[in-house]
């Protein structure tokens, strides 16, 4: 059988599509409240710091960032192709690199907390 890296690319896309569908609107609402001046308790410096110092919260945050960025990157790649951009190899390299660098950065910042 022909070897394909499609499942590796597509798996996190499907996971990310599902996770972002369930949690991203609520996350946006939480920071929107802060943007409107009604900052929720969790976003206060001490509270967020205490919350994200838990190992489980760190792991969940990195996983959330990874699947969100990866699924958005994959969708952006397909969208570029739909819009007539035929340099798929280059587009794929750029968008997946953004997803991986963003994930790595979030892990570094979380470990500094």
């Amino acid at each position: 059988m022909a070897k394909s890296n499609k499942p590796i690319v597509w798996g996190p896309f499907a996971a990310g599509g599902t996770v972002t569908a369930f949690v991203t609107p609520a996350l946006i609402l939480i920071t929107l409240l802060a943007a409107l001046g009604a900052t929720p308790e969790l976003l206060r410096y001490e509270h967020l710091l205490a919350f994200l110092r838990h190992g489980l919260a760190k792991a969940a945050a990195v996983a959330l960032v990874f699947v969100s960025l990866w699924s958005a990157a994959h969708r952006l790649r397909i969208t570029c192709y739909d819009l007539g951009v035929r340099a798929d190899g280059m587009v794929a390299t750029v968008v997946y690199a953004v997803a991986l660098v963003g994930t790595l950065a979030s892990a570094v910042f979380l470990l500094r907390l």
Partner: protein, 133 residues
């Protein structure tokens, strides 16, 4: 001669003109463009993590920057696109994973409906745990 034999493959020209040909294509593109807002919002969260790691002053500046009109406009747009992604994703869920019970498939409306119900409960739970109300 090798040069005369070399292939010159035909590349079909492709533009983005097709998007406006049918409302269905526009809705498809709106769904796909939600990824830009989800990516942008996630990168904003990563930047927030950086400010949190940099200490109270940096985090305070991050919260202050969130209150700018540009940030509020971005949040509203991102919320609309993220919700559109959720709605389209849950509507497709029964097609992506048909759920069989006995001989019959569970009706699509029940599978999507269950997703929407979980989405609502989860969102309310997250807002409650974050202390939004």
């Amino acid at each position: 001669m090798a040069e005369e034999m070399s292939r010159k493959p035909y590349v079909r020209p492709m533009t983005s003109e097709w998007i406006t040909r049918h409302p269905r294509y526009l809705r498809y593109m709106a769904r796909e463009f939600s990824c830009l807002f989800i990516m942008g919002y996630t990168l904003l969260l990563v930047y927030g993590l950086k400010s949190l790691a940099d200490g109270p002053a940096a985090y305070g500046a991050f919260l202050a920057a969130l209150r700018s009109p540009l940030s509020i406009a971005f949040h509203l747009l991102a919320l609309a696109f993220a919700a559109y992604h959720s709605i389209t994703w849950f509507n497709l869920a029964p097609k992506a994973m048909p759920f069989q019970r006995g001989e019959e498939f569970v009706p699509e409306s029940i599978v999507s409906g269950a997703h929407f119900a979980v989405w609502g409960i989860l969102s309310l739970g997250m807002l409650f745990l974050a202390g939004a109300f």
